[in-house]
Symmetry: D2
Subunit: 363 residues, 4 copies
């Protein structure tokens, strides 16, 4: 495997920031799934930079369905979505292209690809590639939703500002999916936007934590070894640029508790089996237990900053200072939200289709 | 995929806690690797319970090399290691077998396998299966070591007791690999052992955080999308029972920093490219950068506790109280250490063999 | 991939002819499938050499179910079957072990494994490993049969002696599965057995063609590209030792026909869609069409013969003559029959489980 | 797996005959491979219909490199090639689109995709998709050639007309790769072209056998079980439309020989290990032995014929006659040649990169 992931639904991404197209191939989608252009556009819009808190490079994100759709519905054969790169200003990058940007893949790409990599704008490592993931993910999000499975993500923390916890999870998810800046508490949202602007003013950037809730999943998904539900989800989440930590349920904070506090008691509530707490984040022994999956992702501060930084020249390997120009985000966490939703949806689609068969999502 | 993981090195585990054997098949090992029985036994001993801080069930962990070794060296064909289950007291489990143990896979296994699962002692979900991972992992750990790649893990936190940070990483790793209770600071070790005994006295259990350092890796391992180094490592780590969080470098704590603080500056130090800090944990853009990989795992408190717990009867689905008997660990984190080392070693072996060819580890 | 095959059902084989065990792991079997020991033994007996037409080495083929079965039924977790090697007379092989046997893997194994391979009795390349495939295959054959899918194979040709064609396919399959020497026409069977004895007398060996019919499959299995039904079946069939050709339906003989003769007309017969001929062997465009799959395998003459042969010494690479001792089959085609049935059954189980979900075969 | 194949080099195809694009993604190509536009065009030209012996639909096969190439060389990241569909006359198909064409996937596609498939021009099952395989294959053919590995295919038989056998294999391969109609003996070529015209005149079609030689491969490629060299090659070959049989070396004809005749004696000729005959087609025990791989493919007569045929209506499932209009090939075997070369090259690239590492083909 490599740029391909999945068993029953295989997803393959391709493309460079400044090449002709980025794209995704989804192979294994059930036939008959409605491809809702407005929904795809809505999701792409959630990823698109906007306003003072984002880069000035705004892409139209016009996409082309190259294959796999007929009369507005999936055919069941590989669905390829292409997104042309239109607003590329390579000039911005040429000057700094050969000094490794700290926190970026410039140096590691050179080690891996021996200098043959397309370095312009981060090339294949560019966050731009996530637009393809979102376009494809939108189809999976919709298909899951039609089966009663909903995904919602909020910025639970930005720097040291915290959002409120989920309360009415179903309402909160609905609410978040309408927002461009996905924060539950409006005051926290304002404070976070301020913090981003502050960082931008300082030629700097911020990071945070995304918390995702997934409701409506049946119990029994995942495998005991290697392909635990946590393994599959973390696998796709750690391929989202900037994510450096993934935890389920109580996660790292939970380790201070004792077993008697941490264990989630099973209860029969009116015929439904639930747990009274959800410290395990909906997963026991690698298998979903029917409770919401709760997963948090640590998103590091955006590495592209305007401040002068120490680094090396990639041609000479000599120490050199770097001052980045171009257009960069002081924060990407709000834009990363829909990427997280997308990869989770694609991975869950895969798990459900493997479990229940390739026609499970056919309508 | 399922109970099989890997591309160039494929690992498959099988077995139930109370069945005849547990085992592992490693397919894709280079020919000519020495299989060092003493080293395997040493690693199995690190996993084996011992003393007051562990379960009273002590297995001999005698293993049989069923295939793939000839004249003391790997043949290059699939290597199967079998570990017979000898010390199984099924009687202990029968009484509670049908009340779901909170935090365990009893309920989710029933949802997935519809009651056909071997529930005795956790069946296929038992931590016992990790003995097979360790036996196979020992071969990978040794092969990596012969290439200058070393792995060391300590308990960086147990409940609220912290170990000191890595200082001389090379010495610390050597030191840890000699210890049964892998803590760098002797005072912290004592405090942790006390805390475990305390929990045991309370019929309770504790969790903690394992921090792993991997040194000597070349830059350039991993893939930009889906198969990032973080994705691969988290995938195998989240299949280790009890792990609920995985973070690289500064991880969750790093999100409060600004980009200018978080970014690791590249430096040329006497011809070697290093970074002045290691907040990215040795990985940029999913690809190793030559710095040590630093990964932390949140290990939840052991779910098997003697305290009375609320739960459900798995036959009737009615609410029922549970009082566990049998032999259980008040902490597994010190035993999980070598499992973490093992799955990391197996995954890194796979990545290196994919990159440099199947004979890379041949001697 | 390597010694592992499959997506929803993954099969992994291991073992050497003269090592402690050979075995198979089947991961992805539905829970609740009855494991019928008598049926497994019956299938192993069909593979076992017997009488004047086979090698004098007769193995008991006692097997151990190491995991994955509880109360006589599959658990849904990996099922491992071990077969101990008991009747190994390594002395036979040592003398000739270092002269490459023509038609065998001695030389290619050395090229691949650099001399570390276990060469005794063919090591991992030994036909002995097929006993594990048959033991595992028996479970799949039974599971398919319970869904109305039947597999039958006959020796359609041995040297220049031909069996009659299938006529009443359902009866023929039943008949073949009862026979040790699977030939439909008793006269042809006698002639073939004579030809084998004749070859044995001449210290030589014979080959032939196996024809397999698979009935009861639903239409719609297989994939348009890469994973066509033919691709999947040929993939597993070409891993059976000695098979050098695979053809579906009219196969190679069909290429002389014109399109108007070759095309199979679709017909509605009383509500069932059938084709009036079956030159496509039940597969159109890589997808099953509901007609029986007809697949033929060319089995080369057994390479182990007693006649003196020219070859090379594997240590010195000098030209050397070879006179094989030990115990060898003048024909393996009748024993290969159940191996062919087994790998087809395992591959079809995989395709059906991928299509209809992991519980499809649960009873 | 599905429309994706490979381990170190993963190939994914997508597209429908009458959709906007067909395409291929190649993931795992080494960085630094020169992408030679003229060579790709030359290979596409060999697949393109031409003259009296082919369909009147001639596509420009203009292709777009969407990703993975920078400054004329591969970057090492996924390379996507798009081929726009320009010359689509859907009107031709609408009339007959709902009567299943015998020998085609119309009926099986409906069974698999439940009527959601894009049926126009065969949709995703169209031979048109092979243009993408050829464009991608050209890169692999070139990369192999730069390592001294050459692939050549001739029509060894068309209906009952046979070409001469390979003699000077190296010269023959060079010769074939220059020809549009790949036949070694000019008289046989003329006779074959005549036979195709004859069939066309009769509103009918012909099939034949392609024989491929692959020279320059190292010994030691392939795996003992499941992923034998024959398994891998047959897997990709059986995904080429119209191929119904694959055999290696002496194949089906070889089964009449005795072991003493069939076995290929190893010989040391001036320091090189060769075999005196090549009945095993360059593969022993699933592993290459350094001799040329010889593989033959049975190509069935093109199913699209103008003669009236019996079939069923796909909407009503009633028996209906079919008279195909549109533009169809009386033979595709000469066009299939380069598709066979392409999939072999891609599969061999994968095997070599898995064995020798991802940079093996870097220049």
């Amino acid at each position: 495997m490599k740029n391909t992931f999945g068993q029953s639904l295989q997803m393959t991404v391709f493309g460079e920031s400044h090449g002709p197209y980025i794209g995704i191939v989804l192979d294994g989608l059930a036939p008959g799934i409605e491809v809702d252009d407005n929904f795809i556009k809505e999701k792409l819009a959630q990823r698109r930079p906007s306003g003072a808190i984002s880069t000035a490079r705004v892409e139209a994100d016009e996409y082309i369905v190259a294959s796999g759709v007929f009369n507005g519905k999936t055919t069941g054969t590989p669905l390829c979505i292409l997104i042309p790169n239109t607003n590329t200003r390579s000039g911005d990058y040429d000057k700094t292209g050969r000094i490794a940007r700290p926190g970026h893949a410039d140096y590691t790409a050179m080690c891996k690809y021996h200098g043959f990599e397309d370095y312009r704008g981060g090339g294949h490592f560019s966050g731009r590639v996530t637009a393809a993931l979102v376009a494809g993910g939108a189809i999976a999000i919709k298909a899951l939703s039609d089966k009663g499975i909903e995904i919602g993500t909020h910025i639970s923390r930005l720097s040291d500002i915290s959002d409120r916890d989920f309360s009415d999870m179903s309402e909160d998810i609905k609410d978040l999916n309408k927002k461009t800046f996905p924060v539950l508490d409006p005051d926290a949202a304002n404070a976070m936007e301020e913090a981003i602007k502050e960082a931008a003013k300082d030629a700097d950037s911020v990071g945070g934590i995304l918390e995702t809730a997934i409701t409506g999943l049946p119990a029994g998904l995942g495998e005991p070894w290697f392909d635990s539900a946590e393994s599959i989800l973390s696998h796709v989440l750690f391929s989202v640029p900037g994510i450096k930590g993934v935890e389920f349920g109580a996660g790292f904070d939970g380790v201070c508790a004792r077993g008697s506090e941490f264990n989630d008691s099973f209860r029969n509530e009116g015929g439904s089996i639930i747990t009274s707490t959800n410290n395990n984040g909906g997963i026991n022994g690698g298998i979903t237990n029917g409770m919401p999956i709760i997963v948090k992702c640590a998103v590091k501060p955006t590495p592209s900053i305007y401040k002068k930084q120490e680094s090396i020249n990639l041609n000479t390997l000599e120490n050199s200072d770097l001052e980045i120009e171009g257009r960069h985000d002081p924060a990407i966490i709000h834009r990363a939200r829909v990427v997280v939703d997308s990869v989770c949806a694609l991975a869950l689609y895969d798990m459900l289709a493997a479990r229940f068969g390739t026609d499970f999502f056919m309508k």
